[in-house]
């Protein structure tokens, strides 16, 4: 018994180190003085920590604007994704209807063919439709990519809230819509917030579509990859950029940890 526990804990320690160490190292790199990143012998732990590397990154041309762009795209994506897929999530949880399975399948299929296949033809179409190099265009693609996730989370949230409560409100004289707004929605809010947060991460992180669909109005990942490919950005810029992109992820995964299993799970319950 103790031998088994020893085995479990040593595996846990090794795997934890494997996941955590690179995060610690990129944090060190982002707050190390620039010189030591290029020096040999290379120090692991800097003598002093400095904000210079991060400030250099944040003050580089286009970075602040691209952060603002990324935030705008993420918010637009959340709004679009919810308008489009929350009703479907509700319908899948609350109604049984002919074609329900086909709808589920169609939505799951979107998970299978993400950004790479969609972006290039969409770029051609967006030029025609006047959506090219515009933040709303990027948000539309990000919303398409997040539909399966938002639908699944929303549907699981409503499955978890008993329909009888809505019925009770209706017997007490409220309409179906009122019952939904006053009874179900308040109970659903935490789960819906988790879906919104996950959508934010998805949009904040997405590189390929954002790069293909923009030229001047870059989001942060599109700007970084472009400065790496086309401009050969210096290493300290790359490390600081990597750290900057990871930062929200750490906080956000903590916020939605209760719903982690729903996101990628095969089934909702």
């Amino acid at each position: 018994m103790t031998l088994r526990r020893l085995g479990i804990y040593s595996a846990v320690v090794v795997i934890s180190a494997w996941v955590a160490l690179p995060l610690v190292l990129i944090t060190l790199a982002a707050f190390s003085p620039r010189e030591i990143l290029y020096a040999w012998p290379r120090r692991i732990w800097p003598e002093r920590f400095t904000l210079d590397t991060m400030l250099f990154f944040v003050r580089s041309a286009g970075v602040l604007q691209s952060v603002v762009n990324s935030l705008i795209v993420a918010v637009l994506t959340i709004v679009l994704a919810f308008l489009i897929s929350a009703p479907t999530g509700y319908a899948l949880a609350r109604y049984r209807f002919r074609g329900r399975d086909a709808v589920q399948l169609a939505i799951l299929a979107t998970k299978m063919f993400p950004a790479t296949v969609l972006s290039i033809p969409l770029a051609v179409a967006f030029i025609r439709w006047g959506l090219y190099d515009r933040l709303i265009g990027v948000a539309i693609v990000h919303a398409t990519l997040s539909i399966p996730f938002v639908t699944v989370i929303v549907s699981s949230v409503f499955v978890g809230i008993s329909y009888e409560l809505e019925e009770a409100a209706m017997t007490l004289g409220s309409s179906r819509l009122q019952a939904f707004l006053r009874v179900t929605i308040p109970m659903a809010l935490p789960g819906l917030a988790a879906a919104a947060i996950f959508t934010f991460v998805l949009s904040w992180n997405e590189v390929f579509a954002a790069t293909i669909l923009t030229l001047n109005n870059r989001t942060l990942p599109a700007l970084i990859i472009n400065s790496v490919v086309a401009a050969g950005a210096p290493l300290h810029y790359r490390f600081a950029g990597g750290f900057f992109m990871v930062l929200p992820a750490l906080i956000i995964i903590l916020l939605i940890r209760r719903y982690l299993l729903t996101l990628w799970g095969v089934t909702v319950r």
């Binding site: 897929s85 049984r96 299978m112 790479t116 290039i120 390929f208 490390f239 990597g242 299993l261 909702v268």
Partner: protein, 298 residues
């Protein structure tokens, strides 16, 4: 999304169709039609038409196939996938089983190992660049351990296998979390009764794992395999961050043809190829796994 039908409220009396669910579903289907089905069809159409004349032709595929990077791109995409996906599934399974054993501190462990799902492929590439680059942390550790007097250049075209190794390590680090979450949610669906029964019949832990847990986990393993294999063809930013174009991959070539050579048509040919490969692999997995199922029940 499996909900037993009996649990759903009967909304309309028999014989009358309630249109509400269809109205609720409509926006999603319309949106997917315009921004998902249309571009897929458009990708195939673009790949089959000549950029100048607009006539139907195979020029784009010929240009794609004739390109120096084409064969290596296919080779490296498949090679990286073939090494990384089994490692992701194996490590993901170990983590999921550890979490599911509910040792003290398992929820903190779950949070920590799930962090990479919030990290983009680009950020992961840059993180591991800080480790593998010439004056990076790996050389610093080697130096501290007295193993390298001079920094070793890991990321160079002279050592293709090291470049591939770096990409595989990064992909395993980043994407194991997704596999782990799929498998963990599968594990939690397996009723405890099975394990109780197995132990009543005297099965040891390994036997239970081998003959009870893993067979019951098959649907989740299947999903994890399919999703990871398909996403492996999307591999792009990790590779660009670590190796530039020294290791060409399919999605990367689509990007270079689009933004460097300004040829959406050849880029679409790559997109169409990725589409076909993804569909073929999903179909292949499903057939292979179903056949096995028939053999097992027969």
């Amino acid at each position: 999304m499996v909900v037993a039908d009996a649990e759903l409220p009967q909304v309309a009396p028999r014989g009358r169709v309630d249109w509400t669910p269809y109205l609720l579903v409509l926006p999603t289907l319309a949106f997917l039609g315009v921004f998902f089905v249309y571009p897929m069809a458009q990708a195939i159409w673009l790949s089959l038409t000549d950029q100048q004349s607009g006539a139907l032709s195979l020029t784009n595929f010929r240009r794609m196939g004739g390109d120096l990077y084409f064969i290596p791109a296919i080779r490296y995409s498949i090679l990286i996938m073939a090494i990384a996906v089994p490692l992701q599934v194996a490590l993901g399974l170990v983590i999921a089983l550890l979490v599911n054993s509910r040792f003290r501190g398992h929820s903190a462990f779950l949070y920590l190992t799930a962090i990479p799902i919030g990290i983009s492929d680009l950020a992961a590439g840059l993180i591991w660049l800080s480790i593998f680059t010439e004056r990076g942390y790996l050389n610093a550790f080697l130096d501290a351990a007295g193993l390298a007097a001079q920094p070793i250049t890991f990321l160079t075209y002279e050592h293709t296998s090291w470049l591939i190794g770096a990409i595989v390590v990064t992909e395993v680090w980043r994407a194991t979390a997704i596999v782990m979450l799929i498998l963990l949610s599968g594990l939690q669906l397996i009723a405890k009764d099975y394990h109780d029964t197995a132990s009543i019949f005297g099965a040891g832990r390994w036997q239970t794992l081998r003959h009870v847990t893993l067979p019951l986990l098959r649907p989740s393993l299947q999903t994890a395999l399919i999703i990871r294999t398909i996403l492996a063809f999307q591999l792009f930013a990790t590779v660009v961050a670590l190796a530039g174009r020294q290791i060409p991959v399919l999605a990367g070539e689509a990007y270079f043809w689009y933004s460097l050579y300004r040829s959406p048509n050849v880029a679409s040919a790559y997109a169409a190829l990725i589409l076909v490969l993804s569909a073929a692999i999903t179909f292949g997995y499903l057939r292979l796994l179903r056949q096995r199922e028939l053999e097992m029940t027969a």
